[in-house]
Symmetry: C2
Subunit: 574 residues, 2 copies
């Protein structure tokens, strides 16, 4: 039997990390306590924590396949599981299916003690959960890979240390927010010659109620951890409803959280899993339950809008679809620009909410350090850069990963109907998983004359999100038009990211002003090893929460402040 | 012509105050820069600012009566005004009625420069606005008195320095929230033996859009300033839509804000007034305009719920109706308790969102320092305490103020139909304003047996808000039942305040736990000069935002964090 976790142990191990995280969100300099190099794992760390090596992670994953995933949750009325790896293999796990009439009250029962533990203990318990997840990063990598279709390296980094960074960032924000009000205060109001009025006031951060995390297929941990840890750290139990095709990474997370909560003396039912049967639509049922007071969601705009409209009893945080734009005005590093964009378009087959979709290029061409380039030349050179990057099948597969599901594949196959194909998509044979669907990105040429996108009834294909490895090389009449089109799609459809390449101070000013006014995060002139589709915890904001692609950013004060309330009790001072 | 305000002047005068406010919201100790003694005003302060005396304030108010209130706003298509003082006199002011198709674009035009000014300059400009309002506190007192019906002293204190405190508190929270992210950061990510990845990141707090303040009749400045200043300090223009019967206090506010903004070099149109014609219902039109992105509202639950449901394009902050409870279990200061409650029930004729309504008293009586008291004795003694407090007409009028409007009077007149009257309401002759409707509070006895309030179809009159000078002395079967009833009304109808009197640690624990779980602010054993219906800026939270009476508290991080977004621009480091 594992020894119980004491507050002293937790403080000694995790308080310094919490303090560093608090400092990092203040300075927004680079920081991470979670190594992203795969070889940093395996064996024992300085602190004495054992972590799994690549091979151990794979063995742990294999041991889970084809079995029931036991969580010992109250209110289990059967088992559900239908995951199929995008790399071809059946997963075969079954997960507890909840009887919510039993599970929700059990989750609520743990709330008072968790509330009374206070912000610091809650943060430290969350950090212990993250540390144990971190030690199993290679096991999580397998789980993320075989549910999302991400290639191993990306599944490991984005699904492991980067997701843990984002969880920790949310814990830091939650701790800072809850502790900006002191636990108690003595209030003494002067009354001239009379005695002052004196009160003793206590302030307690109280949870809203049960939080519901609705997970997504492509980034179950990266997109799930901010909401999960923000809610838990602010005192709310968390019910995790994973995407039916991406259960394992979050089931493992729930398992670790329950284990740590129990060892720390709290109810393990503060975190529970709600797996669903095919086509059950359990999220819609859970989302409007009165016990559910916080919802975090990543997915389609349609369901995100439904949640915002109907789950009025809850604080709803959504990340939805958007149309990400890159404005190409000019550059002093043409090769660097092409290489950077080729990588951004290829990474995980463009199945990221942050992947560029619309590349806006002046019809008359651009100026570059390699001389003037026509629109056609830019498009051809970018296509060639993608082809070059993905010329070798093994390397291509390691970058592209697998197509996550049939809908993305259908969109990709329909894309040639949207315009002239500037870059065709080809199938890549995966060296290890022959059944995986691996496809290179496709680029379509499109006319960006104003008549195609101005006005309420404009219906150019690039005005909507086409999620997956499809991008549009849009020939615009000028950089001013590019900025106007950027404004239009950002205002109407939202954007998680905007990129731009320019050497012109005037164009830069125009683009920056558009992003400030339309609330979009901007990356300028990226030509090296940072890509527009990547955001770093503690420093970057993922989305802005100010355009239709998301109503929240990961992570800021607004993301945590509404998850709890501060309750005051005032008494005459003794 | 007034000299332009420079940043240096603003910094010298107001930065120390801002710093003290930031410290106060951290410690929550007593603090206020706005004197609440009427005699502190008149003549010149140490800083050289002239303030109006009582007589000067009255003269300034009289000079406004019967005239057009010029604001020099763009888009004025006529004049509107229908205020009648609850103290009897016609006001006769007319205010600009907006052509919103002209006014809204003019307000938006001022946004970029106001955004670019940054959080500190915005805060300092807000503090200058508050300081000029403060110097005219006696003029505002007249305006608040003759619109709300508050007696002069309360109109002066609550409508003047206390409202200014709450505005300043919101500015402090807004400043703190916007500056927790630095303006810029250098990010350098190690890459082993290769050069680090380096980015320069800038972060700009950007406004949501135009904020709409929907004012209330009873506390136009106190309830209006938090939202107004929180929105303005976070970069949003603010359109002020006052209650048609309480325009003047907010029109004066808009006038001062426009004057200061202009002197500081910004567009005066960042703050504008939207007066309406009788029964025009302009709030409903404005609330769903796409330009409106933030709404602050105080008023009925029906319209508050309508706003939350329909104004989906905006961040909506509402304070609505509630049922405030006092649990009377036992006391060691019976006379102090009676005096304190009598004052709370009488102040401003109970027309406060924080006035107690349900007094829950065990049917079998309570223990006190004056011996055991039966339910009937407690009720009779409390009635006598109110009678004693209000025995003298002049003193009564100074405490009660006037009934704000016919609806409150109708409810008061209907109240004897709700149960046996334990304390009858009487008319008080106002020594100065013979036409004022001044009424003492009424208390009805009610049966608090569980059968009257348990179950979904229970309809005891005390289960709903009866806004105005009506309270219920509810005979409950036990303190446990009192707590259960408190939970029921708080959960279903909300509560801005909860009070309790007890000497029993067990009862105290029960009550406190109920307030923590139902998210209500609790005042325990108040027997002196602090009253359950009063909250002090910088220290107390007004409402919790966690029960149906309000979706926000005044003031915390959540109240300001959603009013702006943080936009990042990242570039390769040079």
């Amino acid at each position: 039997m594992t020894a119980a976790l004491t507050t002293a142990q937790l403080t000694q191990e995790h308080r310094p990390t919490l303090d560093q995280a608090l400092e990092a969100i203040r300075t927004r300099a680079y920081w991470s306590p979670h190594p992203e190099h795969p070889k940093a794992y395996g064996g024992e760390s300085e602190g004495g924590r054992r972590s799994l090596s690549v091979a151990e992670g794979q063995a742990a994953f294999e041991a889970l396949r084809g079995k029931r995933f036991e969580l010992d949750q109250p209110g289990t009325d059967g088992w559900a599981g239908s995951e199929v790896s995008p790399f071809g293999a059946e997963m075969g796990m079954e997960y507890p299916h909840p009887d919510i009439e039993v599970l929700l009250p059990a989750m609520r029962a743990g709330m008072p003690a968790w509330r009374d533990a206070g912000p610091e203990t809650r943060a430290l318990v969350c950090l212990e959960i993250l540390a144990r997840i971190g030690a199993r990063s290679h096991e999580f990598a397998q789980a993320v890979m075989h549910t999302s279709g991400q290639a191993y390296m990306m599944a490991f980094q984005a699904g492991g240390p980067h997701a843990q960074d984002h969880g920790l960032e949310a814990v830091a924000y939650a701790f800072a927010e809850q502790t900006r009000t002191p636990g108690a205060a003595d209030w003494s109001k002067p009354q001239g010659k009379r005695d002052p009025l004196r009160l003793r006031k206590t302030f307690t951060a109280v949870p809203r109620g049960i939080a519901l995390l609705i997970g997504c297929n492509t980034f179950p941990t990266w997109n799930g951890y901010p909401g999960l840890f923000a809610s838990l750290a602010t005192g709310n139990p968390v019910l995790v409803k994973p995407h039916p095709q991406a259960v394992l990474p979050l089931a493992l997370t729930v398992q670790v959280a329950r284990e740590v909560l129990k060892e720390a003396g709290f109810s393990p039912d503060l975190v529970a899993l709600a797996a669903e049967r095919p086509d059950e639509g359990i999220a819609k049922v859970l989302a409007v339950r009165p016990e559910i007071r916080v919802i975090d969601y990543t997915g389609s705009t349609a369901f995100g809008d439904w949640l915002e409209t109907h789950a009025r009893q809850a604080q709803v945080f959504t990340e939805k679809a958007g149309v990400n734009t890159v404005v190409i005005d000019s550059t002093d590093d043409y090769r660097g620009m092409l290489a950077n964009l080729a990588f951004s378009l290829s990474l995980y087959s463009g199945q990221m909410c942050t992947t560029p979709q619309n590349l806006l290029i002046p019809r008359d061409g651009i100026t570059t350090d390699a001389g003037p380039k026509t629109y056609d030349e830019v498009v051809a050179d970018l296509a060639a850069a993608v082809d070059g990057l993905l010329g070798d099948d093994a390397r291509a597969a390691a970058l592209l990963g697998a197509i996550v599901g049939p809908r993305v594949q259908e969109r990709l196959e329909a894309a040639p109907g949207l315009g002239a194909v500037a870059l065709a998509s080809r199938s890549v044979a995966h060296p290890e998983f022959p059944d995986a669907t691996v496809r290179t990105p496709l680029m379509v040429k499109a006319d960006g004359a104003r008549k195609f996108w101005e006005g309420a009834d404009a219906d150019a294909p690039y005005l909507s999100e086409c999620f997956g490895p499809v991008s549009f090389a849009v020939a615009v009449d000028s950089t001013e038009d590019a900025v106007a089109l950027l404004r239009r799609t950002t205002r109407d459809k939202g954007a998680m990211t905007v990129g731009a390449y320019t050497t012109s101070p005037e164009a830069e000013r125009l683009i920056e002003e558009a992003c400030l006014e339309e609330c979009a995060q901007l990356s300028l002139n990226l030509t090296g090893g940072v890509y527009v589709n990547q955001t770093a915890a503690f420093s970057d904001f993922h989305g802005s929460g100010g355009n239709p692609s998301a109503n929240a950013t990961l992570c800021d004060g607004a993301f945590v402040a509404g998850r709890f309330r501060m309750i005051e009790v005032r008494r005459p001072a003794e």
